[in-house]
């Protein structure tokens, strides 16, 4: 989830400081405090997937600071621990800053004793000192420092407390005293058991905790969120809130405002006029009266109107005088004109689509996602869904990529790395590509759903859920390998920090826009060329029997599926155009068939590339080879079932 490591940062040797610690103890926040460079911070264990490095200057000394994934021990087994081990081996002069959760000294000290075997200069940072105090715990830092033989510093990273003291303590760092293990243990487990015994002795001398009185509201909320009955209610409320904010407010209000109010009424006409001025050739643009209604949603069918405005503006469609033949230069200009502001134009289609439709939806989604993530709710959600996910050969931990998939499937495919076995990664990747609609597509699909009866909408959702389970179950049965065991730490519920949520949303958006906008532009340009060269009609004619015969849809929709190969939300927009308007081409039954088929398509070309990158080209082709025929199969089945029921 992090930005990739920058090569030039590592080139320069010098003093190196490595942040090491258990997952979810605040290494990334501390890293930001030390270096002023932002990495994704969250309240879900395992968010730092890659190593991030930045330079910092402590009292005039240039230091390279490296953030590592959270580890619970230094064993060879987990990828994260191996990464950290290799990193420490590469920088053999590095100072280790071990970051610990002050409330969870036991586990931190277990890691300290493991790190002690490496004999590196170490500073122990007890982070979250405020939460320790809140719980009535106390740690004798001086005594702890004496026993371990390393400086011990208390910090509150989100408030930037203690960073100064940490920087001052760095030069005093030294290897932990003595040898902690009498003999080389037989295996890791035996070694860790022996270490835990020693940790208990240290804790007895340095740590005290007064019994908590009644649990606070936060703690109680945490319990409710994973309660078998209340937890389901909690889940329903959370999902409803997401639906309201993203589906209704983001995809409704904000999109109306930006798409109609800003782009179609203001930007597009200005762009068309500007292009016409620079590249003149004889033509007149059509004008259309575009209505704008901005309203705040109260429920899926009720809303509170704020603004309504209607403007007469020019649109990309134009007419050429029939009797004049264009000179070569004018033909070139017409080509460029169409490339920029034509019906498949970069400005009129790609940019307006990416910035006015996708951006608001994705922004609201990432915002909500960040809030949920920081509150610590996802771990509890993982507990709630664990049993259900077992059916699909996954465990509860897969909930994070699945929910993120509702934002962007491509990004979610990348985060499947947090899953432990290849089998789980493959299943999750497959389900993401097949049946989880991304937020861009969701927005369009929600608009389409408005044209359906409620029963149709429920059928669509039910079918998707059924497909997810059926395909997940089949894949898990057919794909050899093990599902990893569900052992998950439950972090305490925390109030999300506004700054952190905003920064995280921004970081995700930044990634999204950088990845997605070029694909939009290139995709639209390819589409434009295909249309110009006549390929679109050829492919449409070849695919027509499938679409008209098997799916029972009008021939024009072939284009939508064709575009769907590029981006499935693009394809959905085509269907939306055909479904809504003065004289809709599609009947509700056909809308449903088209919706089902386009939802099951692979989301976009970027997702295909990401699968190839993460799982290999062969897996990507196999998935594509399954997904596209499967989408048509299910779509056709829905069509024939519907027709059979009607007659």
């Amino acid at each position: 989830m992090n930005r990739a490591q920058r090569a030039d940062d590592t080139a320069n040797p010098g003093k190196v400081t490595v942040l090491v610690g258990n997952p979810n103890v605040g290494k990334s926040v501390l890293f930001k405090n030390l270096t002023d460079r932002y990495v994704t911070v969250s309240n879900f264990p395992g968010t730092t997937v890659e190593i991030v490095e930045a330079r910092a200057s402590f009292d005039g000394h240039e230091v390279a600071v490296i953030d590592t994934p959270g580890i619970n021990d230094l064993s060879q087994r987990s990828d994260d621990a191996r990464v950290t081990r290799e990193l420490l081996a590469k920088h053999d002069d590095a100072t280790i800053i071990q970051v610990a959760d002050a409330r969870n000294l036991r586990r931190a000290l277990l890691l300290t004793l493991q790190l002690a075997d490496l004999k590196r200069p170490t500073v122990l940072v007890l982070n979250m000192a405020d939460e320790l105090e809140e719980r009535g715990g106390q740690i004798d830092c001086a005594r702890l420092s004496e026993i371990l033989g390393v400086p011990v510093v208390m910090t509150v990273a989100p408030r930037n407390q203690g960073t100064r003291q940490l920087i001052e303590a760095l030069p005093r760092a030294q290897p932990p005293s003595g040898s902690w293990l009498a003999a080389e243990p037989v295996n890791e487990y035996v070694g860790n058991r022996a270490r835990l015994g020693q940790v208990n002795d240290i804790l007895a001398e340095t740590y005290s905790m007064s019994q908590p009185e009644s649990p606070s509201l936060k703690v109680r909320l945490g319990f409710w969120a994973m309660h078998p009955v209340k937890g389901v209610g909690f889940l329903a409320v959370a999902l409803l809130a997401v639906f309201w904010i993203v589906g209704l407010f983001g995809a409704g209000t904000l999109v109306d405002l930006l798409e109609t109010g800003v782009f179609r009424q203001q930007v597009a006409p200005i762009a068309i006029q500007a292009v016409d001025a620079v590249l003149p050739f004889p033509h007149t643009h059509e004008t259309e009266s575009i209505p704008l209604g901005v309203s705040v949603p109260l429920s899926p069918v009720h809303e509170l109107g704020i603004v309504t405005a209607q403007r007469e503006v020019i649109v990309p469609a134009y007419q050429e005088p029939a009797d004049i033949s264009l000179s070569l230069r004018q033909q070139v200009w017409r080509f460029l004109h169409d490339l920029l502001v034509g019906e498949f134009g970069t400005i009129t289609m790609a940019l307006s689509y990416a910035l006015a439709i996708v951006l608001p939806i994705v922004t609201t989604f990432f915002l909500v996602f960040s809030i949920l993530e920081d509150s610590g709710y996802f771990s509890r959600m993982a507990i709630m869904v664990n049993r259900v996910f077992r059916i699909m050969g996954l465990n509860g931990k897969a909930v994070l990529p699945m929910i993120l998939g509702l934002g962007c499937d491509t990004m979610a495919t990348m985060t499947t790395r947090i899953l432990e076995t290849r089998k789980e990664r493959i299943i999750t990747t497959m389900l993401l590509a097949l049946a989880i609609p991304c937020s861009a597509q969701l927005g369009v699909l929600l608009a389409l759903m408005a044209a359906l009866s409620p029963a149709g909408a429920i059928f669509w959702i039910g079918l998707l859920v059924a497909v997810i389970f059926a395909v997940g179950w089949l894949t898990s049965r057919l794909f050899p390998g093990q599902t990893s065991e569900f052992i998950l730490e439950v972090p305490p519920m925390r109030r999300p920090h506004v700054k952190n949520v905003v920064a995280k949303t921004y970081a995700r958006l930044n990634w999204y826009l950088k990845e997605v906008i070029p694909i939009f532009v290139i995709g639209t340009a390819i589409l434009f060329l295909l249309e110009r060269l006549g390929f679109l009609t050829v492919i449409a004619r070849v695919g027509e029997p499938l679409v008209t015969g098997w799916l029972g849809l009008p021939a024009e929709i072939t284009n939508a599926f064709l575009v769907g190969f590029m981006r499935r939300d693009f394809g959905a927009v085509y269907i939306l155009d055909a479904a809504i308007g003065a004289d809709p081409v599609l009947s509700p039954h056909q809308i449903l068939v088209a919706m089902v088929t386009i939802t099951l398509f692979m989301p976009c070309f970027a997702n295909f590339l990401m699968i190839a990158k993460e799982q290999g080209v062969r897996v990507a082709w196999r998935m594509a080879g399954f997904i596209f025929p499967f989408a048509f199969l299910v779509g056709g089945a829905v069509n024939h079932l519907g027709e059979w029921l009607n007659t």
Binding site: S75, L110, E188, L478, P480, E489, V490
Partner: protein, 144 residues
């Protein structure tokens, strides 16, 4: 590592090396039968099923061990009960180590937070969720 087989007829456990039924058997390597050295019963070493069919419809059998007085699987604890871990069960070293780094080792004292939908225990200051299947194998002793 030697592979051990169990005779389905008499229950005798023996090393796989002892299973050659007769030297000079014309079937040679293509014979899938093994013979129990105790009762001479011949049986198929592996129940040969088409592997994907097996994965599709096969089910693993649950086994229930007999336990000494006062010791119960973690799964049987009630909400809020305190217990001491006796053993982590199973022979899965990586699981043992995963549990150990969270502080769940024999002798650790735990409080049960909930059983459903997944088993959540409090070990020291850590709340840890484990799959019910794992909780069934961890044995604990109830504390008064």
């Amino acid at each position: 590592m030697a592979e051990y087989l169990n005779c389905p007829l008499c229950g005798f456990e023996f090393e796989k090396l002892d299973t050659l039924c007769a030297h000079g058997c014309p079937l040679g390597g293509s014979c899938n039968f093994v013979r129990c050295p105790s009762c001479q019963y011949e049986f198929l070493e592996h129940q040969r099923k088409v592997s994907w069919l097996h994965r599709l419809f096969g089910r693993e059998e649950a086994q229930k061990p007999r336990l000494p007085e006062g010791i119960v699987p973690l799964r049987d604890l009630k909400r809020g009960e305190q217990a001491r871990v006796i053993c982590l069960g199973g022979d899965n070293g990586s699981r043992h180590n995963t549990l150990a780094v969270f502080g769940l080792v024999p002798e650790a004292e735990i409080t049960l937070v909930q059983q459903l939908p997944a088993c959540v225990v409090q070990v020291g200051e850590t709340e840890l969720a484990v799959d019910p299947a794992i909780a069934r194998e961890i044995l604990v002793e109830r504390l008064a």
